[in-house]
Every structure is written in C-alpha cells, then in structure tokens.
Symmetry: C2
Subunit: 340 residues, 2 copies
DNA sequence: GTGAAAGCGCTAACAC
DNA sequence: GTGTTAGCGCTTTCAC
C-alpha cells in the first residue's frame, strides 16, 4: 500500500497542499464544500497525519515520557494505568522508561529528551541521586516536568505526592498501639523523598510515645533483593533483641519480610507484626492478610498526567511549585492483629 | 537555552551542515580532524539529534509500540520489563498502550500507527476480536508486528508464546491426581488464543482420564470483576454439585477465586483446590500458598522484542510465521495439597 | 476561499 | 574531504 500523504491528497483532488492541510485541521478559511471533499477522501484513503512531520513545525509530538524505577510494582502499574487514561483522552502517547533504580540510567534516558523526543515528562525519580543536573537541564529547555510520588529534592517543579510523613506516623502509631516494643523500619538506600518522609513520621511517632528517637532502628535495604533477604534474615534470626514490629517502606521489602519470616518460622502477627507500604490487590489474601498503607496510585497517575497536560496546553507556566497531595489509607488486617 | 541544531553547529564551526551531519554519524568520508572538532563541539553544546527530523528522511523513529490489555498484571509487567531491557540495548524507545480488553480501543490505537508513529509493534491482543482488520492493515503497510502471549488467530506474523495447551493439561492433570472430582475452568470471554489452548488442554486431560469431555464445566468470565465475583459466588454457594477444583486461566480470576472462597468460608485446599495461571511474586505467600502455572514472562518480553528488532534491522523478511515457544512451569504449592 | 513558497532539522545524492 | 542542494511531510505566512 502506497504511503498516503497530504501531498497525494492534494494532487488527487487537484488542490494545493496548503488547502488540504487547512481543511484537515478544520480551518475556518476553507469552504465547507472543499473541506468535506478533503475529509471524505482522506477518510476513504485511511489517511493519518504524520505526527512527527508536524512536530517539526510546531514542536508538539504528542508523546509524553513516563520515567519510573520499575513496573513490576503495584503502585507504578496502577499509576501508569491512571496516566494512560488521561493520555488517551488527550490523544497523547506514552513512552515508558525503567530506570531500575539506577541513576546513571536515569540520566542517560533523560538526556535523550533534550531534543524533541517528547513534549513533557512524568517522573518518579530513582534512588541514589543527590543532585539532578539532568532534570535541571531539561527544565532550562522548557520541557515541562511533573513529579509523582518520588520527587527530586531541591528541584522546583509541580508534583503529586502522598502524605508520606503522616503515613509513616500512622503505621508506627498503629504498631505501637498493637503493643510492639521494638519496631524496625526497612528503608531503601538512596536519598529518596518518600522514604525520608516516611522515616521522619516513624521517628516522630516513636518519640511522641516518649521513647527516644535514637531508639529507632532503621534497616537500610538496597536494590539487591538477595542482599536484602540476607540482612533481614540475620536481623530476625537472632534470638534476643529481635524486633517485634516491622514497617516495610516499599512493596518489595514487604514481600521479602513475609518470605523471610516464613522461612525462619517466625509467626506473623504473633511474634512479628508487619505494616507494608503497598497497593497490592492480593494484600488481603496473604498469609496472614497484610496491614497496608495504600496510596491512591491510580489517582496519583491521573492527577500527575492532568497537571502535565495543563502545562502543555496553556503555555502559561502555572505556579511551578504547585503540589497536589493525595492521602494514603491505612488498611488494618491480620498482620498486625493482637493475639487473642 | 537556545535550541541547538546541526545547522547551528555548522555555522559556529564554519562548516556545511552536511559535513556536520556526516561527522556526527561517523562517516568515513570526513577527515579525522574535522570529525573530532565536530564531535567535541556537539558534546560541549549538549547536542542531541532530533530523532523525528531524521525519521522524516529515513523513516526510522526509534520508537516501538507495546499494545497490551493491562499493566496491573504480573505477566504483562514482567513482559514489559523484558521488552525494555532489549529496547534500551537497541537505543530504542517504548510506547505503551493499554486496551483494557476493549477491541474498539485496540483498533483506534492501532489506526494511529498507520503513519510513522512507530517503527514496529509488539502486541498481546485484546479479547473480543474475531477478525483483525486493524492488524492486517498495518501489515500491508509493512509495519513489523510481533505477537506475544495472546496472538491474533488467523493472522500470520512472528509470535512468542507459551505451551498453553500443555499447561492447561498439566494443571488439570495435577488436580485430578490430587483427587478432584469436579474441576471447573474459569475462562475469559472473547476468543483468546491462550484461553482456547488452555481450555483444550483441560478438556483433553479430563477425557484422557476417561471422563466425558462434556463433563467439563467452563465458567465464562468477563472483564467486569464485580460480575465475575457474582458468577463465582453463585457457583460456590450451592451446596450440591459444587466444584472441588478450579483452574483460573488468568491472574485476576485467581485472586477473585481466593477472595470469594474466603468470603464464603470455603477452605482451600480442603474443600476446594486451586491452580492459577499467574506470575505473581506473592503466589507463595498467599493464604494458602498458590499452586501456579507460571509463564516465563520476562523472557517472553525479551524474545518478542528481539524478534521485532530482527525484523527492523535486516529488512529481510524472515519467515513470517516464525514461532518461539517458551515453556511454562507448574509450581506445586499449598492450594492443591491433599488433606493429611 | 485557495494557492505558492518558505522552512522546521536532518540526510543523501551529487558536485567540486 | 567538504559544500550545495533537494526533499522527507507538514504548517503557515502572504499573495491572489
């Protein structure tokens, strides 16, 4: 099948390309009759405008980038879902990039955005970054960026986040209420906004309880799951001074906690209570069912995408430090139940 | 920051644009010295080639499309992961499209690929399609398409799949071995290749056992989870002639089975044994741990992507009905355990 | 209301 | 080895 272009339509209809172009964009300066003729013919020929040729003229590709650490995580999967609903509404296209929590990869990915690959960017940053030259660089080129969930600390750009401090507090408070004496916090290395905030909430809850904040025990996990399992196992194996409560600050750490407890024969919730930050649909079906802090992942994705399209549409640079905060929910389940 | 183009570099370096262009693509017909000068300057200026401008000349955008029913499913999430690793290797970019199991949406999405939006397509088709004009249309335009997992029946194009028939057989056989008397198969409406094959395997296992294949009980589920829960509940509520084994042919049906059993107080595996097709990392942690048929999702994604790039690179149209089959694994766990 | 022409950023003949 | 030029498909003044 021959490629069908505006030029071909013009030729076939004995019109000028400019006329066809205008007709296709429903310009008022084209007669209703010609317009209809063009539209009909284009339709009949299955014409689709070459988006990238247009982009050369008007610098709008109709593509947006979504940069995330991973996709096999319920939060990100749902967020993508949310983003996609809005993108489809806006007839826009979504490019996905996985950083695998690797800052170098994130950097190199974003360097590719410097010249018109995408119109705008939604990003949840990788851990390990301390400064964000690759993000600032794009900002200077006036490429709109919206953060969701994990924001680049110190960079000013619109963002959609959850109440991480409060959730950290809530989770900890909940465990304390359930009688935990030693609660450990499983964090993720790498200077992440969400982890920092959750951790602060945790510390605050501990100190509010009258315990010294220095009594808090933070286990720093990494991106290496085998390593994490080992750390956790050696923590839980010891017979004395073992935590009786754990807050897993991200999904994968939650699952590892369950795995290790199962392996070591540690009973949840009797010997160990667990709260996990996760949006897993199967949380209620785990053994035992998992008490979670659940973020409104879908809505976060939607909101972030909407924000981005606002930036894209009205070039009016709305307040660049706009922040939308969507609250998380504590779902109390079996993993924090008091022995009866 | 001003936009930096090949033209600007040429001007600054007092060279012709073509010289710069060739230098940047490391053409042999450019002197080593000038080449270096151009490369250095481009680097210093943070020059990035406008991919879409090039695409106008050589019809290669560097973008590929991945069209899937949903992303909040472990199989697809892992498959995307696999695809992405290959894409990054190939310096290619991945556009994600979710059809939500909606054929009309799939069609309209793919119509957008008719004019150079992407170089090639990876697709796992939505349910409900009986013919695939939108796919054939793209084929006629010589846009490479590779199917993975769910193929369009009757359409000839390279594909990466699992041994669905055998897995259906294995799952059923396993349940029969575990003493199940009535095994119900939870299928998904919509003429899906994978479901059909799994179902055939199921029927064969039943009839091999000497039971009439007509004794097989297929529960057709839809894309509406509330509806599915209701169907399942009314099936499981009845006191007589209730199945004692269930094969959930996709992930979400597995979780619904667990949910409904929990709600109705039906004990798995004592009163009901369950095998689920899923790649959920949490399968082993469910209550009870779930016996699964697990597809090598990551590898499927990788393999499909590799196939696509082969098509893209050597324009040599390799055998269009090439098929790669990667086997699934049966993981026996608690949900099919015999009462001790 | 319609058309001619220039140009977006880049590539590839083809000249020199 | 380097430059000139045409053109990819589209949009947008500016004439008519």
């Amino acid at each position: 099948m021959a490629k069908i272009t505006i030029k071909k339509i013009a030729h076939d209809l004995k019109l000028a390309v400019s006329t066809v172009s205008k007709a296709l964009s429903d310009s008022h300066e084209i007669g209703t009759d010609t317009k209809q003729r063009v539209l009909d013919y284009a339709n009949q020929m299955n014409y689709v405008r070459n988006a990238y040729a247009s982009s050369l003229k008007n610098s709008r590709t109709g593509n947006i980038a979504v940069v995330i650490p991973e996709v096999a995580d319920s939060f990100f999967a749902l967020a993508i879902n949310g983003i996609e609903t809005i993108a489809q509404e806006k007839k826009s296209h979504v490019l996905i990039y996985l950083t695998q929590e690797n800052q170098a990869k994130e950097k190199s990915i974003m360097e590719d955005f410097r010249n018109g690959r995408v119109d705008g960017i939604l990003i949840s940053v990788a851990g390990g970054n301390t400064s964000y030259p690759h993000i600032r660089d794009l900002q200077e080129r006036n490429i709109p960026i919206v953060f969701f969930d994990r924001v680049a600390q110190g960079v000013t750009s619109p963002r959609v986040v959850t109440d991480d401090f409060e959730s950290g507090y809530k989770a900890t408070h909940h465990l304390l209420e359930k009688g935990c004496k030693r609660i450990d916090f499983l964090s993720l290395s790498g200077n992440l906004s969400i982890i920092d905030a959750r951790l602060e909430g945790y510390k605050k809850a501990i100190s509010d309880r009258g315990e010294s904040a220095s009594r808090s025990h933070v286990i720093v996990c990494t991106n290496d799951n085998v390593h994490n399992e080992n750390i956790l196992a050696s923590l839980l194996e010891r017979k004395e001074n073992r935590p009786d409560g754990i807050i897993a600050s991200v999904e994968k750490l939650t699952l590892i906690t369950y795995t290790v407890c199962t392996r070591l024969g540690i009973s949840i919730p009797d010997e160990m209570k667990v709260v996990g930050f996760t949006s897993l649909p199967s949380a209620a079906l785990l053994q035992p069912s998992l008490t979670t802090i659940t973020q409104p992942a879908f809505e976060i994705g939607q909101t972030a995408a909407k924000l981005l399209f606002e930036l894209l549409e009205k070039k009016s640079k709305q307040s660049p430090n706009k922040m939308v905060l969507l609250p998380s929910l504590l779902h109390e389940r079996g993993s924090t139940q008091i022995k009866t």
